[in-house]
Subunit: 182 residues, 2 copies
Amino acid sequence: MARASQTEIAVLGGLSIQPMTGYALREAIREVLGHFWSESYGQIYPTLANLEQQGFVRRQDAAQARGSTFAITPAGIRHLEELLAQPVQATPPRNGLLLRLYFGRHLGPAACRTLVQAMLTEAQDALERYARIRAEVEGQDSGDRDYWLLTVSAGEHSARAAQAWAHEALSTLTELDDMAGT
Amino acid sequence: MARASQTEIAVLGGLSIQPMTGYALREAIREVLGHFWSESYGQIYPTLANLEQQGFVRRQDAAQARGSTFAITPAGIRHLEELLAQPVQATPPRNGLLLRLYFGRHLGPAACRTLVQAMLTEAQDALERYARIRAEVEGQDSGDRDYWLLTVSAGEHSARAAQAWAHEALSTLTELDDMAGT
DNA sequence: GTCATCATGTAAACCGTTACATGATTGT
DNA sequence: ACAATCATGTAACGGTTTACATGATGAC
């Protein structure tokens, strides 16, 4: 069942926007897709080599000063379209915060509050990042724009939900703490 | 950096609620923690063997009819508390839906709508499941009750956010489709 | 009697990160 | 000159799933 690694989507997709070195690709994935995707060098370089061998990407500028810039080929575009059309493979959920909270009785309300508080701060940082990204994306005029905004909006909805839940959880935990104290 | 596997938390935590066989443990994790955690047999059995060797769990009822029921020991409880106190290790994000949507221009609005629609259905199913779980948990009187409700609430917030975003995304994608049609 | 479920375990494969090695280029 | 960054790769490790093998028990 040759499960096409989703890494190929990220790599080909990135190169479909503009040619890049492997290093730049990783930076782009970290900075632009960072809130819903990640790749490490250990994935990117072998994948690039693999894609090159299959003719889906090629190195351009033979006399490169530093590194080699990879560009997607027409066959690569077609391959990307095929990969995108494959059903989203659901990754089994693993939320370390909720796992700890579920067994929170062993941890105590105060320690739980600390965990939730940290998560709340993260959600707020995320919202600020999204605001910056949104402003940047809205300012440009590309065929990708509306799709990119869709992913920003997903992040915003999710972060606001996390924020609302965290506030609720903090007050519940405070109550639990007060009851234990009396 | 002996990264304590979070599987131990799930296993010890499960046994802290009641003694169980490995099989029952897996079922419990699937059914009860299913919306934020998962474990496979390949993890559970070796972990149980390992925990037994360290004296954190023991097999009870020597003359068992089927399988052996594992119970957590006092040392196991202490170990669980230590594990719970360890910082939540953030897993790198990997959202296959958003990855596809980001490169949605290559996929087209109609195919994107199908993906979002599938996700919307999932969110609605999830909300129904949460309603059932909530009713069940609210009906009981355990020291764990409020912690469990916290995790249910997290699921509800997240599912409602997904729902709201999906509706928004569907109308955006419909507009994109109409513009392409004219 | 036979089918579904309960139960235990293992081996192989996969996916992915981390850490390391190496060196060129640029800025100061 | 030196540090920071750009750049490419690989090896080792670790966690996790999947598939398989095996068999007991209970329901019908």
